[in-house]
Amino acid sequence: MNTAGAALVLMAGGYAAGACLAVLAPSQRAARFFTAVGATVGCVGGLIAAAIVLASGQPVEASFPNLVAAAGGMVIGLDRLGALFLALVAAVGFLAAVYGVSYTAEYENRSSLRLFGLMFNGFLLGMSLVTCAANIFTFLFAWELMAVTSYFLVITDSEDADTRQAGLWYAAMTHFGLVLLLPMFLLMAPAAGATTFADLRAWTPTLPTATRDAVFVLAFFAFGSKAGMVPLHVWLPRAHPAAPSHVSALMSGVMIKLGIYGLVRVMFDLMSGGPAWWGGLLLAVGCVSALLGVLYALMEHDLKRLLAYHSVENIGIILIGLGAGSILHGAGLRALATIGVAGALFHTLNHACFKGLLFLGAGSVVQQTHTRNMEEMGGLIKTMPQTALCFLVGSAAIAALPPLNGFASEWLIFQSLLAGPYIPRLEIAVGFPIAVGMLALTSGLAAACFVKAFGISFLAMPRSDHAAHARECHWSMRAMMMVLAGGCVVLGLAAPIVIRGLSRVIDSVPLWAGEALPPSPRLWLMVPNGSAQVSPLLMAVLLTAIGLIALLAIQVRGLRIRPTDTWGCGRISQTPRMEYTASAFAEPLRRVFAELYRPTEDLSISVHPESRYFIQSITYTSHVVPWLEKAFYDPVTRGAQALATQVRRMQAGSVHLYLLYVVAALLVALASAWWFR
């Protein structure tokens, strides 16, 4: 039993203890603390294990053949790839757990925090196990454990009917994923007995092409439904707002990444890569997800739904990187392929960092303002300055602004896309520039969207009493946000070092073995062929330097500031109703992309009875029609309903009818016996 193994045991023990303690807690308040204690201990264990494995590269392996022996037993195997994601789970899990202590205070009278504690720790345990699982049953077990527990976390606020509906959507989609996963894995298994990943790895090369393709397609949609790629994203914008914010942070920051993990694990590790169209599919779906995600986000005024849609966008970006990587790898451009994959993995880390941060920030805001609607916030930068600062950092990072981490990973992905022209086959190569265009548009729109998100909810004057009376949240919550904000900055400035670490992880996957990136100069991110480089750190230094110089220059002549009212065409007093609203902010883009949104507008003006020049009230409502969802899901549900009604008819209540069924069945059976001979 080596250290890493012990750390894993500590992890599992911590989570288990947290779950049990929370259930047995004497009071709701105690349950809150026990939950966090167990979770933090578990996360520390997980971090230690992951760190050891990442550093040494020695996989931790353990197997418990007697547990569910019939299904192949429980097999644990933590390699570098898994450890990367385990570190992700543990890190974000730790912060979310601590944050949760005071965040869940408001749930004390609403819903059972004992159940919550059980599910929260179970959720963390499930996610950690997914990254350690080394045979089919263990993986699926952990996968479902994660799904079930997260379902209960989503419906924590179960008194609200919408929340329950959201939970239902989520459960349905995630179970749909399992339904695809099961045959996918079993197709890769050589025999009923041999279900460890090692067996699969050895066996998959011998599979016929059709089977391999089937496995890939199944894996793509199964993990895609978890990762939230279009069109399987429907559950994200429902479940994320419904869940408590630190749970949303975990789900959006980590859980959907496990979909990416599964995809990488199956596609590149177990199946060791495939034809160009696999990557092509990833690339295409990635582009669509990125663009649609951000476009729908732009129309959202529910802060958490907006963030949820951005998760769709970022998953898209990650998929683009993976797709580019796998295509380039197939075309023999292995160094550039590594850039793409590294970009994707790096973006996975970054997204976990800033999306976690943003959800925690949103959580603090929602806790203070008791609303998720941005139109009722505003002015929070004055009442909650630190939260605002953290949220700003997160926004800048997710908008891929240098020198923060989002920029670094998107830069790498851009570079891998620019390598498209080197691909000999033209029909594949042309895809790349288009991807560049869409990715650029995506990041531009993301910037616009977060100007809206931050500007409307934090700046200017409070738009409601709640917002006016908001106070800075509890220090523990702020501290966690600070940590993540720091993470965004550090990951950005130290990107070259992170990339070097990631390239080791990539190197540990047999498919990419021996393709570690050439050691680039400390401060620079470089494309292996030296065609481009960038140094976030130096950028930051220059930026601050120039800013300071400018400040000094102004100070030389003395900077005098006179506070007055905002100037507004001679208005006497300024009221929040005169501020630009979120919907107004998004209006131009809604017009531009009207084709996609199919907005329904409803303008009703009531005029004064005396003269129609005196307007009494104007109400304007506009909704975006999610026709994509309708197109995909309505037929299915309608079909099921129709079938169900047909089946109901069978049970008509007449005993003669029932007997007739029996006779008919008998005749059919006899006939089949006849036919079979």
Binding site: G379, I381, A396, A399, L401, P402, F407, W411, F414, L418, P421, A429, V430, P433, I434, V436, G437, L439, A440, L441, S443, G444, A447, A448, V451, F454, G455, I456, L459, A460, S531, A532, Q533, S535, M539, L542, L543, I546, G547, A550, I554, R557, R560, I561, R562, T566, W567, C569, Q574, P576, M578, E579, Y580, A584, F585, E587, P588, L589, R591, V592
Partner: protein
């Protein structure tokens, strides 16, 4: 080492020249419109005056309002330091490539837009919303023209692009190159708030974009913003000039080459400035919701550019 000194120097030159460029364009326009117009160095005086004035700041504004001007100015300067103006040294480890430029400018715009929202004035919000729309829609075009350049040069580093273009003049006249140039020029107009996208000469019109955002600014802050905007314009023009018509730019650091580089640089800028001025006198401002059409047109140009370079390979 000498490279970095050179970069520092040329950045300084750019920062110094920027107001003159704006002034020159205004003067040129006045001439074209049959007015005498203010002298080209007028902007320097304005900046000096503004720097001396006190800043009037709204009650509702937060610290962000105070920070933004520095961010905007800073990004412009950093960008200027990344872009080859007078000389394009091939080898050194530059701080960033074309993507870095694009995203740095985006950073500036991001903060400017936030500052616009910060005061809670309807104009600020209006400007911010429109500015972000325009910027978002220009991004793909910029990226595409970058691809077009990178395709031919096999790199997104300025030095390599320029070397390559100088090495193969034929490429500069290729359809891909020209189309990309056109696309980038349109983007320049959009990003720097010129006609037909935005009218830099107006205040308090409901059609304004950039000016609406900075409406609440005054004094030194306004000076920084103006200067930054001017620098941005210069950088864009310089990009258009040097990436597509690189001849004359100094590839070695010999005094002669540098002299030629400086002269040719100013000459190119002057030509482009005149072009802008002529254009601004010729065309009327587009309706806001026609702008996306213009930008999509430029995107199509860039796309065709890429494809043609592809097929030309």
């Amino acid at each position: 080492m000498i490279h970095y000194v050179m970069i520092f120097v040329q950045t300084f030159v750019a920062v110094a020249l920027a107001p003159a460029l704006v002034g020159f364009i205004r003067w040129m326009k006045a001439r074209l419109q049959g007015r005498r117009g203010a002298a080209p160095w007028q902007p320097y005086l304005e900046l000096w005056k503004l720097l001396g004035k006190e800043a009037v700041v709204s009650h509702t504004a937060s610290w962000l309002f105070h920070v933004s001007p520095f961010v905007v100015f800073g990004t412009s300067v950093v960008v200027a330091s990344l872009v080859p103006l007078v000389a394009a040294p091939a080898d050194p480890l530059i701080i960033g490539d074309l993507f870095a430029v694009v995203y740095l400018l985006l950073l500036g715009t991001f903060f400017l837009a936030l500052a616009g929202l910060d005061t809670g004035s309807p104009f600020g919000g209006m400007g911010a919303s429109r500015e972000m729309t325009v910027v978002a829609l220009t991004e793909p075009t910029v990226a595409m023209s970058i691809v077009a350049l990178a395709l031919s040069a096999g790199s997104t580093n300025f030095g390599q692009i320029i070397d390559r273009t100088i090495a193969e003049p034929s490429m500069a006249l290729g359809p891909g190159h020209l189309l990309a140039f056109a696309a980038l020029f349109i983007v320049t107009l959009a990003e720097t708030g010129r006609l037909p996208v935005d009218n830099p000469a107006t205040h308090l019109e409901l059609t304004m974009i950039h000016e609406a955002m900075v409406l609440e600014y005054s004094g030194p802050y306004l000076a920084l913003l103006e200067w930054g905007a001017a620098l941005k314009l210069l950088v864009f023009l310089a990009l258009a000039a040097n990436l597509f018509i690189p001849w004359g730019i100094a590839v070695t650091l010999s005094p002669l080459a540098l002299a030629i580089g400086l002269v040719s640089f100013i000459a190119k800028l002057a030509i482009l400035a005149i072009a802008v001025a002529v254009l601004e006198t010729r065309v009327a401002k587009l309706r806001l919701f026609r702008v996306p059409e213009l930008l999509s047109a430029s995107f199509v140009l860039a796309l065709i550019a890429v494809m043609s370079t592809f097929l030309a390979r």
